[in-house]
Each structure stands twice: as C-alpha cells, then as structure tokens.
C-alpha cells in the first residue's frame, strides 16, 4: 500500500477523455515522476489530487483517507502541497509575505481569527519563512513585490511556499521549467536534501529528463490519459515505446 493510491480514475472534458482508468500507487517516502507527452493528462491528474477537479469515476486515497469530495484547503491541511505549472503566487504581496501565509496555514489550520496580533511579532513564523527563502536562494529578494520577480524566481518562490509547509506529499508540476541550468541543478539538490532529511513523498512532473532521472525512484509514463508503463528510471530510459512516444533523441 502506497501513501497515495489512485484507482480507476477517469475524467472527461466534454468528448475528450483526459484521464482513462488511471491507476497509480506512490510509495511512502519515495520520489515518483510522471512523464508523458503534452496533453497526456498529467496536470489533470494533479488537479484531481488537490481537489481542483472531481473525477468522473474512481477513487483517490491518501494515507488511507479518501481525497474525493474534499475542498482544496482540506486536502492541503492533510499534508499535500502543490507547485503549479504556471506559478500561482500572491503578486501584490512581498516575497516574505508570500511565504508567511503558508506558514500560518500550517500552524493555524484553515481559519483562525487572529485580528489583533501583529505579523512582525510572529518571530517563529518569520524565521521559518526566511529559512525557506534561504533554501531556494531568494532571501535577498525578501521585500520585493512578488509580481516583479522574473519567471524563474516566481517558480522558486512557489517552491518555497510549498516547502515551508513541510508537506507529507509534495506535488511538483514542472518545478524547473524556465529555470537556468545552474538553478535547476540547485533545485534538484535542494529537493534531494529535503527528501533525505524529511519524511516526505514527492510526485514530480517534468519534461526535463535530467531532472527526472536525477530524482525519481519510480516513473510512470502517461499517454493519452492512461498509464503506458511504470518502472524504474533505468528501465524507462531503455523502453522502446517510451523512446518513441516521448523521449525522442533526448534520452
């Protein structure tokens, strides 16, 4: 039994079957990659996991509890955080404030009426947020307006926002897209460390095979809404069907 169990999940948009009978089991404390051609349904699957979409059929269990019918914030409170394919951040807030919000969510739950405390006095929260920014190398941008960040920096900020929650399951939708190679490597290193240090499971979607092969312990290949194969990175690399449908000459 993995920590995340997806069983027979299907999802259609009108006539388009974006997911067909997807089964996926993610072992606890592993890094599991999902790869596949564009439009294969990878992001759709993540959307189902975080409660953005309701699947037509099937079940999704996290740590023995069903995720279906739960609101996104409840799912997050169960310990699932997500990095989006196009960065979702609080553009009007400063970088540090962006990271403090998830800290509060982690500490206080879905709602707490602390209208008479002062943000700056929450030393513990500030410290956590700064540490997370330092992790992704963004501490010097602490007080910048998040909207003014370059795209790569927005990615890193969003990663920090997820990491600071110390989730049990981290869902990463192309976390290094648009990042400079050096930063990609740094991110790989960071994810690796976090994975080693904490009891964390990661599901990662990437088109950058360098990232996938450096991190993943298992890989599921999704094509046209259904899993094609699931195997170890070594075997996937050599899999002829995958090479043809997805990897091309790159691998």
């Amino acid at each position: 039994m993995g920590i995340l169990e997806v069983k027979n999940v299907s999802k259609s948009f009108g006539g388009l079957k974006a997911l067909r009978d997807v089964n996926l089991s993610v072992a606890e404390h592993s890094v599991h990659a999902i790869i596949g051609p564009n439009g294969a349904g990878k992001s759709t699957l993540l959307n189902v996991l975080v409660g953005k979409l309701v699947p037509d059929t099937g079940s999704v269990m996290f740590d023995g509890q069903s995720l279906l019918g739960r609101k996104p914030y409840e799912i997050n409170q169960m310990g699932i955080s997500r990095v989006f394919q196009t960065p979702e951040i609080f553009g009007d807030l400063t970088v540090i404030e962006n990271v403090m919000i998830p800290c509060f969510a982690k500490r206080d739950g879905v709602f707490r009426m602390h209208a008479f405390e002062t943000v700056e006095n929450e030393a513990e929260i500030v410290a956590q947020a700064e540490a997370a920014l330092a992790d992704v190398g963004m501490l010097e941008r602490r007080d910048m307006h998040a909207a003014a960040l370059s795209r790569g920096d927005k990615r890193r900020l969003e990663l920090a926002m997820c990491l600071v929650q110390e989730p049990r399951l981290l869902l990463l939708d192309e976390p290094t897209a648009g990042m400079a190679r050096a930063d990609t490597n740094r991110t790989i290193e960071l994810l690796r460390q976090i994975h080693a240090k904490r009891d964390i499971t990661m599901v990662i979607i990437e088109h950058d095979m360098h990232v996938v092969f450096s991190l993943a312990q298992r890989i599921t290949v999704l094509a046209q809404g259904a899993p094609l194969v699931e195997d170890t990175p070594e075997n996937i690399k050599g899999h002829p069907k995958v090479r043809e449908a997805y990897l091309g000459e790159a691998a």
């Binding site: 955080s81 951040i89 009007d92 919000i101 509060f104 009426m113 405390e117 926002m161």
Partner: protein, 412 residues
C-alpha cells in the same frame, strides 16, 4: 506603543492630535470675515467628518484588504441608525447601549447578507450586495414604514423620530420643561457645546464631537491592528490570489466573511453615532447613493491605505456642506475688493461651481484626483512629502542621457 510599530504609532498620534485640535484647525478664518464661509469647525460637520470617517475606515477593511467591492454598505449604516433610535425610544437617552445595539444589529445583518453574497466574487458580489441593500431600503421605506401598520419599524420616508410619549423605560420621558430629552454620555449631552472666543475667532467645542472622535480613534486603532495582523495578511492574500490561498490550506470564506461582518459593524457603529448626534433615522441613508458615497470616499482617499478613507470622507462632506452654501452674496463679499465690473465678472465665473453647482465642482475634483493621483489623496500627500525630501537630498542621478522617466500613472 499599544502594540504598534513606530510608524503606525506616529500615524495614530498625528490623527489623535488632529482630531483633538479639529475645532481650531477647521476654523482658520475669523468670524465675520468673507472667508468665514469656508470654516468647517462647527459641531455638526465635525461630527460628520469623524462618523463618516468611521464608516469609510470600516468599508476599507473589506474593500481595501480583500478587494471585495460592496455596493450595499449603506444598509448597515441605516440599520445602525434605526437600532439606536429605537434604543432611545425604548430604553433611554444614554448613548452607550444605543451604539452597542447598533453594532450588534448591523453585525447580525452583515453576517446574513455576507454569508449569501460571498458565494460570488467580483462584480457579481457587488450586485448581490447592492440588491440586498436595495431590498433593505425598500423594506425600510415602504413595507416596514407604514405608520398605519403594526410593524411600523422605520416610519417610512419621514424617518424614525423621538416623540414625547416614547416609553424610555430607563430614562425620562420628557425633560422638566416638557421637551424631548437629548442623547447623552453619562450626563454629557451630545448637543452640549462651549464657545471659545479668541479675538475675532470663535472655536466651538462640542460634547458630541469629542465623543464621536474618541470612538473614531478607537476604531482607527483597531483598523491599524487589523491591517498589521495575520488576519489582515490573509485578507490581502484573498485580494491578490484567492485560488492560491485555497491550495495553501486556507479557507478564504471565513476570512472574507469576518471582514464583511467587521466592516458592517463599523458601518452600524457609524449609523448609531449619527443617530446619537441627531436622533432621527431616515430611509434614504440606506439608498444605493449612500452606499456609493462611501465607495467614493474610500477610493478618493486611497483604498487600502489607513488614513485615506478618513481623508476621503472629510473631503466629500466638506464639499457637501460648505460649497453648497456659498451663494452669490458670499461671492460678492469675496470679490468686493475688485472694481465693480471685474467683481461681477468673477462672481459670474465662480457662480456655476458653488452653491447649487457644488456637485459640478465635486465631479471635476473626482476626475482630477483619480487622473492625477491614482493612489487617491494619500498619494497626493506622499508626493508633497516626497518633494520636500527630494529637495533635501537630491539622489545621485544616473547618466543624464539615460535618465529614467517615472512610469506614467496612466496606462496608454
């Protein structure tokens, strides 16, 4: 101090000093001089400044922080007024229970309206609040206001008034000389005032004003705390990216609802205070125009800033009360020093903008402010401060050829 950082403490102190000294500041012109018309230091207007200030501060907690634009806040103001007048009629003329009751009733109403309206966002939310408020207005105006019905809660268009035969079970029904008693704060009547004559100047200190001002300072202080609190941060998160908030484990709805109720309570408080200063509650203070007014006040002053709404409220109330009173008589007084022909010319020139034309001036000023000061009056203030600062220490400019142009504030 009081859990505020230095900057906020300074702001609070400045506001406190300004409100305390308002009777002096607002009466800069000597009595009897031509410009005395421009004085605003009389109790009624000063009271209005602070009360509408409270209204706008509260509105800004919702709009400025969460971005939810309510077009129905006047409903809470009106309900607050009715609640207070009913307390005066039934219980007695002490203002404290009246104000508390106003806040309670409007909070309950805000909870109901907010709960339903917050199911939608953007313009859909605005229209829902507008629709609810208009329904409240219509209820107050006709359904619950028919003097011949048993449910005459509001007395219709005439407005809910005190009468000599109200019960006032904890107070007196009528004063010794047979009149209706006056709202008071432990004996200090809201209508009490004291005139200080200094040379040609007259300064009026009014009990009602200082009571309302004290309440406003408390309201302002609470607003600062809310702005600086984690709660405030969440609200700004709602404005910036509500979706992200949901995926971060936070349910935005209770936060927005709380903000809605708080701002509705502020409105109720303002309504209650209005009734304390002048115990009559009319339905028209619930109409959409009244809701629109607080929106304008907030934007004009600077939405999302602490002091902006108060400035906006003062600005609009000043025009409504002072400019509408400048008539040709006064104008002739102003321009009397000019030769006759020129005097008449100046009067004719200014005439369309004052008196019955005060709306015109206000409209033009709305446009000028929003065109040239996108951040509202607060931005105007900042620019003036900026000018002073810059004059002190000019920053080392870059290569003059590549001098940065400030971003145009109007987008092309």
């Amino acid at each position: 101090m009081l859990g505020l950082n230095r900057q906020d403490t300074a702001l609070l102190i400045i506001v406190a000093v300004l409100t305390l000294l308002a009777p002096f500041i607002l009466n800069p012109f000597p009595e009897g001089s031509g410009l005395a018309t421009l004085n605003a230091g009389y109790p009624d207007l000063m009271q209005r400044f602070v009360i509408y200030g409270i209204f706008a501060i509260g509105f800004n907690i919702l709009f400025g922080l969460t971005g939810y634009l309510s077009f129905g806040h006047a409903a809470f103001l009106g309900v607050g007024s009715y609640a207070a007048v009913w307390m005066f009629k039934l219980i007695g003329m002490q203002v404290i229970p009246a104000v508390l009751f106003s806040m309670a009733i409007s909070a309950i109403l805000a909870l109901g309206i907010g709960y339903v309206s917050l199911r939608r966002s953007g313009i859909y939310f605005s229209i829902l609040t507008l629709a609810f408020a208009q329904m409240c207005y219509n209820l107050a105006y006709s359904v619950l206001g028919n003097p011949n019905s048993r449910f005459n809660l509001t007395n219709g268009e005439t407005g809910l008034q005190l009468t000599l035969d109200d019960p006032r079970i904890l107070g007196v029904q009528r004063t010794p000389d047979g009149g209706i008693p006056v709202p008071n704060f432990f004996g200090i009547e809201m209508r009490d005032s004291y005139d200080l004559h200094l040379g040609d100047w007259v300064f009026t200190f009014s009990g009602g004003y200082y009571f309302a001002a004290a309440v406003m300072l408390i309201a302002f202080y609470i607003a600062i705390r809310i702005f600086r609190s984690p709660f405030g941060l969440m609200l700004r998160g709602v404005k910036s990216n509500q979706t992200r908030l949901y995926y971060t484990g936070i349910n935005a709805r209770p936060y927005t609802l709380a903000a809605f109720v708080i701002s509705g309570t502020y409105a109720g408080l303002a309504g209650g205070l209005l009734a304390c200063m002048d115990p009559l509650a009319g339905a028209e203070r619930m109409q959409w125009t009244a809701s629109g007014e607080v929106v304008l006040m907030t934007i004009l002053g600077g939405a999302g800033t602490l002091i902006g709404p108060v400035l906006g409220a003062g600005f609009i109330k000043y025009f409504e009360n002072i400019f509408s009173k400048i008539n040709d008589n006064v104008l002739h007084g102003w321009f009397a020093f000019l030769p006759d022909g020129l005097e008449d010319f100046m009067v004719t020139l200014v005439h369309p903008f004052v008196g019955k034309g005060w709306h015109l001036t206000l409209g033009i000023l709305f446009m000028l402010v929003v065109i040239f000061l996108p951040g509202g009056l607060v931005e105007g203030g900042q620019r003036i401060l900026g000018l002073f600062r810059r004059r002190k220490a000019p920053p080392p400019g870059p290569d003059p050829e590549h001098h940065p142009k400030p971003t145009p504030h109007v987008a092309e």
